[in-house]
């Protein structure tokens, strides 16, 4: 008699199931627009040339060992990662009130931040503090915060399906009506899944309300550099909030912009009011880390730290990032052009207006179902496509498939 008899099979994560179904599909023209990683025009994974270079440097460096990193991670990594988010000359860094916690990718950074907030924010162990996530948001956001113990994870309006853009009025209203001290999870750039970001002016409006209503800003920054090709531009929102004096967290991932997916490189940047607050916060985060992964893996952090702190390598990396961003931009403009040339019903401006890896096509669930089943083009039920799944070879087929779908299915 097993004590685990009642354990049910967990529901599969939608995007993993999509990939599994894609793999099973034998159709010669199949296209995977649900893939979660960058692909080249040959539809292959891409290890950044600068990463290969640094991997060799590390593997041949006999001065390096495999001893435990400090609990909070590799110091050079934490410092350079926070610097890339906040800027070389960030006042917060100069005032010594920034700290970093090396984490297991963006997910790990979010989890550490969430675990800390649950214990120490808005009272002690206040699990009832509302956590606001955008509607829609990355499917894992909700679960990370509820597994950290928060009982009230709610949506804030974000995507306007009708106008295919930001639901600004709704967003601002939800901010106004949020209980004081609520936590708002903000996408720093390249919103997942909509690809729609607030403009600088809109961010200013968001920040104004958040300051007035004492709302806590928790940024998720998974695409810095990858979104526009410009590191500074993609960090504008975070830096603006810092300039306004906010305390904030920023969960950074280097999975996409360094292509280091399986090395699990992330950093939780903590911007505090002063250095005393920063060190107390970090000391508590250290305790939390000790009970999850104890200390983080070194390989990815070394690659990032070496790259960010060596001028030639840094230049090469920016170039590699631009290569990826440019390919995505090209696919966007070509997809839009092809749909317009085909006369596909509807407007397709949003494809080039949106930014980053993802596009919210606006296709409804029936249309999505048709695309998958009849045309073997795989995308999320929400209509989200990953631009990296498009290539010059499959663009025509995808455009034609979308055209057929939209004309046949309403």
């Amino acid at each position: 008699m097993s004590l685990f008899t009642e354990v049910p099979q967990a529901a599969p994560v939608a995007v993993f199931k999509l990939t599994a179904d894609f793999r099973e599909d034998k159709h010669p023209s199949k296209v995977n627009l649900g893939v979660g990683a960058y692909r080249t025009d040959e539809c292959q994974p891409w290890v950044l040339p600068v990463v290969r270079k640094v991997e060799q440097l590390i593997a041949n460096d006999h001065g390096l060992n495999h001893e435990y990193l400090p609990i909070l991670g590799l110091p050079e990594f934490r410092a350079s990662a926070s610097k890339i988010a906040l800027g070389e000359d960030s006042p917060a860094i100069n005032e010594n009130r920034v700290g970093g916690v090396q984490s297991l990718g963006g997910t790990g950074a979010l989890r550490i931040g969430a675990e800390f907030l649950r214990r120490w924010y808005n009272g002690k162990n206040n699990t009832a503090t509302p956590i606001y996530v955008s509607a829609p948001t990355w499917e894992n956001h909700n679960a990370v915060f509820s597994d950290a113990g928060f009982t009230d994870v709610r949506p804030y309006r974000y995507w306007d399906a009708e106008k295919r853009g930001l639901a600004l009025a709704g967003f601002l209203e939800d901010l106004e009506n949020a209980p004081e001290y609520s936590v708002f999870l903000l996408h720093a750039c390249a919103h997942n899944p909509t690809g729609t970001d607030p403009t600088p002016d809109e961010w200013k409006q968001i920040a104004e309300i958040m300051e007035r209503k004492k709302l806590f800003a928790f940024f998720d920054s998974a695409y810095q550099g990858f979104a526009s090709g410009d590191l500074q531009k993609d960090a504008w929102a975070v830096r603006y909030f810092v300039s306004k004096g906010f305390e904030l967290f920023c969960a950074q991932s280097f999975s996409k912009n360094f292509g280091l997916y399986n090395e699990r490189v992330g950093n939780l940047t903590v911007v505090a009011k002063d250095s005393d607050n920063a060190s107390r916060i970090l000391s508590q985060m250290e305790k939390i880390v000790r009970t999850i992964w104890s200390n983080p893996p070194s390989q990815g952090a070394r690659i990032v730290a070496t790259t960010l702190t060596t001028p030639e390598l840094f230049a090469e990396w920016k170039d590699n990032v631009k290569t990826m961003a440019d390919r995505v931009l090209l696919m966007r403009s070509q997809l839009k052009a092809k749909l317009q040339a085909l006369g596909t019903p509807g407007t397709w401006e949003h494809i080039t207006q949106q930014i980053g890896m993802f596009s919210f096509t606006g296709l409804n669930p029936n249309q999505v179902g048709y695309l998958i089943k009849e045309k073997h083009v795989y995308l999320m039920a929400s209509g989200r496509i990953n631009m990296c799944g498009l290539t010059t070879k499959n663009l025509d087929y995808v455009a034609e498939s979308i055209h057929e779908t939209v004309t046949k299915i309403q």
Partner: protein
């Protein structure tokens, strides 16, 4: 912007005993000082030992032009978890043949303990009574309790393990404690190389432990932190685990590859699940994936690749096993030398326990006052439990350590009594 921080009331976390010791040791200006606590296997130079093959295999892995850095599956590299499971249970284990044993790749041993704890907390006996207490040995390794608490397990108790009179493991008090533990309690057991004492149950002790646990329906959560570094033979180090599996127990086992592969900063571990049926294994693994999804999402690739390569390549495997033997021999030699030095200094008691214990750790049997004396007067740093990592004693520090222990045992420590 408000002047007051949202975190004004967040206190500074108390440093762990381990951190306090390290800090005090670093600050100590004495030329004759020693830090005797560490969780790595240290070489003569006091650094975490790198296995001879590690550099060349890592170079091979990272020079492979076909290597991609795509995400690993949530449950980890399948070849790695298969190899880790076979290493723990033996390739011909019936549990493996029956498809009811499998692993989940984790962030070292801590990640495996955390994952196991989360599974127990959420799913153990979900249809019946809530998960009851979890029992740890007394004393227990540093962060195990905190890791369990991190998963929401609050009822943590201890069973007697170290016998201060015998200066070793005693089975009778442990069995007594198991007899009165509530049914279905979880019992955390070191399969071998107990941390922090180095004291081991004998095979006949294990048989008695298993009998009580079977009868009282107690759930084993094994820890296998350094397989191969206890007896120098991975199979022997897993004897207790395999014995329990042969009796039909369901169990969890947190495996770490930090110490036995010298891959500390690579964070390689596996949570072994042994269930009654393969369908149960699949269900529990799917729940493990849900837990992993919000903890670290996917595990890291490099270290797991190295371990997989070594375990599946006969030449590398032989080299690894030889490396383990060398490490164990060195550990035993340090123990012998320490005992011999103490004997020659004329220490009044027998110190046989030092050479009877195995693995990295040694419980000296020193009292708290004697430990205080060592720390405050002799610049020898060790935790209050009196347990040390024998590899932290180098040729250079051996004499000073031995002399300090001798002084601690023979001096009048009136002033150190509370």
């Amino acid at each position: 912007m408000a002047a007051l921080s949202s975190f004004a009331d967040t206190p500074t976390a108390q440093p762990s005993e381990e951190d306090r010791l390290s800090l005090a040791f670093l600050k100590d200006r004495s030329t004759e000082k020693a830090l005797l606590w560490c969780t790595e296997y240290l070489n003569e130079e006091g650094h975490g030992s790198l296995l001879p093959m590690t550099r060349k295999v890592m170079l091979q892995i990272y020079s492979d032009p076909t290597l991609t850095l795509d995400y690993l599956p949530t449950l980890g590299l399948p070849e790695f978890t298969r190899s880790a499971t076979e290493l723990a249970l033996g390739r011909d284990s019936p549990a493996i043949r029956e498809n009811r044993a499998g692993g989940v790749q984790t962030l070292g041993g801590t990640g495996a303990i955390r994952l196991g704890a989360e599974l127990l907390q959420r799913w153990y006996n979900v249809g019946g009574a809530r998960c009851g207490p979890v029992y740890l040995s007394s004393p227990s390794g540093g962060s195990v309790a905190a890791t369990l608490q991190g998963a929401g397990i609050s009822d943590i108790r201890s069973y007697r393990y170290w016998d201060p009179d015998k200066k070793g493991f005693s089975v009778a008090p442990l069995l007594e404690d198991l007899e009165v533990a509530p049914e279905q309690s979880v019992i955390v057991l070191y399969a071998s190389a107990h941390c922090p004492t180095g004291a081991e149950p004998s095979q006949s002790d294990w048989k008695q432990i298993a009998e009580v646990m079977m009868r009282r329906r107690l759930f084993p959560f094994f820890l296998l932190p350094s397989q191969g570094l206890c007896w120098g033979d991975p199979a022997q180090d897993a004897w207790s685990l395999r014995y329990f599996v042969s009796l039909g127990f369901e169990l969890l086992c947190a495996q770490s590859f930090s110490t036995n592969f010298g891959l500390y900063s690579d964070r390689v571990g596996s949570l072994l699940l042994v269930l009654k049926h393969s369908s149960l294994l699949l269900a529990v693994q799917s729940q493990a994936a849900s837990v992993v999804h919000t903890l670290w999402s996917r595990p890291p690739g490099g270290g797991a690749r190295l371990v997989t390569m070594v375990l599946n390549n006969p030449a590398l495997l032989a080299e690894w096993k030889e490396g383990l033997r060398v490490m164990v021999e060195r550990g035993m030699l340090i123990r012998e030398k320490l005992k011999e030095r103490l004997r020659m200094l004329g220490i009044p008691e027998f110190w046989d326990h030092v050479t009877q214990q195995r693995g990295l750790y040694c419980c000296t049997g020193l009292t708290e006052e004697q430990v205080q004396f060592l720390v405050m007067t002799c610049h020898v740093y060790l935790p209050a439990s009196g347990c040390v990592n024998v590899t932290a004693i180098s040729g250079r520090t051996l004499d000073h350590v031995a002399e300090s222990i001798y002084l601690a045992v023979t001096s009048d420590l009136q002033e150190y009594r509370h």
